[in-house]
């Protein structure tokens, strides 16, 4: 490390009170920024859990659908229409809807019921106890072991319940990639049983799950479905559509963005103010260095180094603190929805770089304005 940067490092860390204040400011700002964006990412991820868990390449739906939970049933002929499109390898119906279960002890529990195509069971979850074939048995349901599983009173194979005066029996326990957003347990059954057990409207298909023959067939399929008055989206497009809904058409996105901006301003205020005070208190020393023969660019590099060092250290501490607290929260609350993504980390990093840039700009301006002559004048 060049000697001037080593001097800068010592000037910074040896002033323990200011160094601590700078680190606390940046760490707190990074923690808040990542926590806010991680919460939002967790919510967005869970809002698309059904899409992720079913795993179909393409989804056909009513154009008015905004989230996967907000289903608008499709008439049966749409299934035939889609199956007749040349690029479609196969298409199956999916039922997704809410139900009210009466558990063995007489309590009621809302649940999400997913009805899989009777023939193929396409979109089936990964069974960890029992056998997927048992789903074809009488009254059979598979319970998903996620964060909400306990709300079904931790059922085992053979546990039963009532659904709309029908008996339901747990024949297997399964797991999925992502828990649902709304805090209700999920049951899987066959499409026909779901229709049989749950009161339904005239049209019954929630979504059509489509597998194109090749990726080149995606666009023609979308065109044909659009021509029929419906909407076909790839899995990624559907996830994005759901994210866009929560981000732009609810208050969640705006609130999270506001909190992130406030975190940024708090971090900027604390670190900018502290850094400026640090420079101000050392201005005569920087002036003395100038008089001795330090060049402007050397002083600038010292200040930039100090700002960068504080920013990166604070960033690391902030990320670590956030990860630790999310881990702690998940330990106590398994369904805690927060997810640190590379995008969150990148966003926080950019904001920290901006904080460091603005803080150091203020410092650099001050130092460059110092006249060594003022040192002589006292």
């Amino acid at each position: 490390m060049p000697g001037t940067l080593r001097i800068a490092y010592k000037l910074l860390v040896n002033d323990r009170a200011k160094f601590a204040a700078l680190l606390v400011g940046i760490t707190f700002a990074v923690f808040l920024m990542i926590e806010m964006t991680s919460l939002f990412a967790g919510i967005l991820s869970r809002s698309s859990s059904t899409v992720i868990n079913i795993g179909a390449s393409m989804w056909v739906m009513d154009p008015a659908v905004q989230t996967v939970a907000n289903t608008i049933p499709l008439p049966d002929y749409v299934l035939d229409e889609v199956r007749s499109i040349p690029g479609v390898k196969y298409a199956v119906p999916l039922y997704s809807g809410g139900a009210l279960l009466k558990l063995r002890d007489g309590t009621y529990q809302a649940a999400n019921v997913v009805g899989l195509d009777d023939t193929s069971l396409f979109g089936r979850p990964q069974v960890i106890s029992g056998n997927i074939q048992d789903l074809f048995a009488e009254n059979a349901f598979i319970a998903i072991k996620d964060a909400e599983f306990y709300k079904l009173h931790d059922p085992k194979i053979g546990s039963d319940f009532e659904l709309n005066d029908h008996r339901g029996v747990i024949v297997g326990i399964a797991r999925v990639a992502s828990s649902a957003l709304f805090g209700v347990p999920t049951l899987y059954t066959t499409y026909s049983r779901a229709l049989q057990y749950i009161p339904s409207t005239r049209f019954t298909i929630s979504y059509l799950l489509v597998e194109p023959k090749s990726t080149a067939d995606v666009a023609p399929i979308k065109q044909r479905v659009t021509a029929a008055g419906y909407l076909a989206l790839t899995r990624e497009e559907f996830v994005q559509k759901i994210s866009d809904f929560y981000m732009y058409q609810t208050g969640i996105g705006t609130n999270m963005m506001l909190m992130t901006v406030i975190s940024f301003i708090v971090g900027l205020s604390i670190s900018g103010q502290t850094f400026y005070t640090f420079i101000l208190e050392n201005s005569d020393k920087f002036g003395a260095l100038k008089a001795i023969g330090a060049k402007g660019r050397e002083l600038i590099s010292m200040i930039l180094f100090q700002a960068t060092f504080v920013a990166l250290t604070g960033y690391g501490l902030g990320v670590g603190l956030c990860a630790f607290l999310i881990w702690m929260a998940r330990w106590r609350l398994p369904d805690y929805a927060a997810m640190i993504t590379f995008r969150n980390l990148g966003t926080a990093f950019v904001m920290v770089v901006v904080i460091a840039a603005i803080s150091s700009y203020v410092g650099v301006r001050k130092v460059l304005r110092i006249e060594p002559f003022d040192i002589f004048r006292g």
């Binding site: 001037t4 001097i7 040896n14 002033d15 005569d284 020393k285 260095l289 002589f376 006292g378």
Partner: protein
């Protein structure tokens, strides 16, 4: 005959414009030689500090030239001038301006570090210079742990560590008691001044006049008189 270290020719400096213009230094010309300790004395506002800043390459004169060992310092670019100061001029400031968060040795090593010398080698050299000023056992202390006289010695060690030709002292005894100030200047005269070095001291303190080779009195921005000191007499 002594070689000329500093030659200032008709230097002028004014601040402000119009009616607010203050002519701080007026047509000042003088020479200072190697091996000489030149005092600049005079009342406050007489232009001593302004003149000192101009001859040390810190404040550009409005007119006139300053030559140090035949180099016209104000014809240099700002980077070259900074480099010139770094290698040729040592400063001892009135308030020392030591970095409170660095050790004494690191403070002394600063000019060498700015010269991009190796860190460890710079600290070794700083230690040698602390030995010269009698503070070798204070190398790892921070300046606030030192007395005023010791801090002044650290500032002197910092000023001489890069073996500069010119040493500039600004009010070196202003923050010290009488005895300490006198001891410091006596030390500088005995140990630091040599035939390859010129020392210019701005001071109000008549108790240290005895160590001067010449005393240049300034009043109202002009040189009022130049006297040989009592040592020569």
């Amino acid at each position: 005959m002594a070689q000329t270290a500093i030659r200032a020719t008709a230097i002028n400096k004014w601040f402000g414009e119009g009616q607010a213009r203050t002519h701080a230094v007026k047509d000042v010309s003088f020479e200072a030689n190697f091996g000489e300790m030149l005092y600049v004395v005079g009342p406050s506002g007489s232009g001593k500090t302004t003149m000192l800043s101009m001859i040390s390459g810190i404040l550009r004169p409005n007119s006139g030239t300053v030559k140090i060992a035949d180099a016209d310092i104000w014809s240099l670019s700002s980077d070259d001038l900074a480099e010139f100061r770094l290698h040729k001029i040592g400063f001892v400031f009135q308030d020392y301006h030591l970095f409170p968060r660095l050790t004494t040795a690191e403070n002394v090593a600063l000019p060498l570090i700015l010269q991009h010398k190796d860190w460890d080698a710079a600290l070794v050299e700083a230690g040698r210079n602390l030995e010269i000023v009698g503070l070798q056992n204070r190398a790892q202390l921070v300046p606030v742990k030192l007395s005023g006289g010791e801090q002044q010695r650290v500032a002197i060690a910092r000023a001489i560590v890069s073996r500069p030709d010119i040493l500039i002292f600004d009010e070196p005894t202003a923050s010290l008691d009488g005895d300490t100030g006198r001891n410091i200047v006596s030390f500088v005269h005995k140990e630091i001044l040599n035939e390859r070095r010129c020392i210019v001291i701005v001071t109000h303190d008549s108790r240290i006049y005895e160590f001067a080779d010449r005393i240049m009195r300034m009043e109202d921005g002009r040189i009022f008189s130049v006297e040989r000191s009592q040592l020569d007499a």
